[in-house]
Point group: C2
Chain length 236, copies 2
């Protein structure tokens, strides 16, 4: 119920208003080696300023999945900070590093671990940082919600199983940091979502019915975002 609680971890949550996307910066407070999760192309300059002000050395730009609602900032970051490596799980996307279930990435003495949580897309991962007691859930689990399952190989039964078997089995006090929030909430916890998520706290059959009846509009940026994100962003 508290927040990221590791004094040797630098942590910053950042927000991009148009797509309501959260970007995260994590770093080892001693070595200053850092990663960024889900950067957005529109806010790359802000993110790089934060990284420079905090005197961090960025190693990896990680995307939780191939986003359909905004263009990733990974490509621009790689251009502006040479040496940074893009990281993705999805084998259909182009990136410097492909991770798979159970892999981890090291930055200084800190580590993030990857859990395959498909359903919103096939290549969705959730990222766990055990020392921070945090999980970055991408669009698999949102605060009192979840990502849509009507595009990009979306599969609501699969999403339900992913969240229940991978995220909801983490300790209840782990902080949930999603890729988006549309209501101004910045985080939640595993215990809270297990109890209060209006979709995922339900039985599987009911969840599938809810997801089939959302009637969401066509994603505003999908035609621009998907081709760009399949190559980890616009690089030039």
């Amino acid at each position: 119920m508290a927040h990221v609680c590791d004094p040797t971890l630098v942590f910053r949550q950042l927000f991009e208003k148009v797509s309501s996307t959260y970007t995260y910066v994590l770093a080892d407070a001693n070595t200053r080696e850092a990663i960024i999760i889900d950067p957005v192309i529109e806010t790359v300059d802000r993110d790089i300023k934060v990284i420079n002000d905090l005197n961090l050395k960025l190693l990896y730009a990680v995307n939780t999945h191939v986003h359909a609602d905004h263009v990733t900032g990974s490509g621009q970051i790689k251009q502006k900070l040479p040496g940074v490596k893009s990281v993705i799980f999805d084998m259909n996307a182009k990136a410097d590093i492909y991770i798979k279930e159970g892999d981890s990435l090291q930055f200084g003495s800190k580590k993030i671990e990857f859990l395959s949580t498909p359903g919103h897309t096939n290549g969705c991962v959730s990222i766990v940082c055990h020392t921070a007691k945090s999980v970055f859930t991408g669009d698999a689990l949102l605060i009192r919600g979840c990502g849509r399952t009507d595009f990009q190989q979306g599969n609501s039964a699969l999403l339900y199983d992913s969240v229940h078997s991978k995220i909801f089995t983490l300790p209840d006090d782990y902080v949930v940091f999603p890729a988006h929030d549309y209501t101004g909430q910045t985080n939640s916890s595993v215990g809270e979502e297990k109890k209060h998520n209006p979709r995922l706290s339900k039985a599987k059959e009911e969840f599938i019915k809810i997801m089939a009846n959302l009637n969401l509009p066509y994603p505003a940026q999908i035609d621009r975002a998907l081709p760009a994100n399949l190559v980890c962003g616009i690089q030039n």
Copy 2:
């Protein structure tokens, strides 16, 4: 450089998009007694749902000052959660509890302390929570910025002295949680702002010149917000 790091404190940061206002909920994790800082009228229902989901008992709705850019949610919260007391520093405003420099408020075993930090308005306070190593700076200190000083008894020389004598004398690793951010940043630290704030890291004379030449537009919601906020929000 880490985040709110007190496992016995419940902490939640919330955002209202139209006025770019941050609202904060703090509670004792054991007794569940809670306070809310700078609620916004438009997001009262969201805030109350968070408070109820987290099984908290709200004692106080605290405003860091009489806001000119949004209507406080204090009045509506008092209506919807009877027993909650509104708290303000400004003697020109109406509230249940007036606090003064050096006062503190208790919720369970937790405590916040008030520092008078005038300059944006005469009644601006900054709120320190030592166990969370955090300071809620209202509009006195923003991330890489500060509140305007051209309305509501604004005085840039006074604001400079407030920030330097009250906020910048806190430990460098104290997290800065402002009342607003317009760039999607969620927090900063005292050490960071001392070094990187483009206004307040300057000498006093230069700061006064910067503030005199901002040429900001008339505050969008001031004519609606000020009369309401002087009585701690719309109550009926």
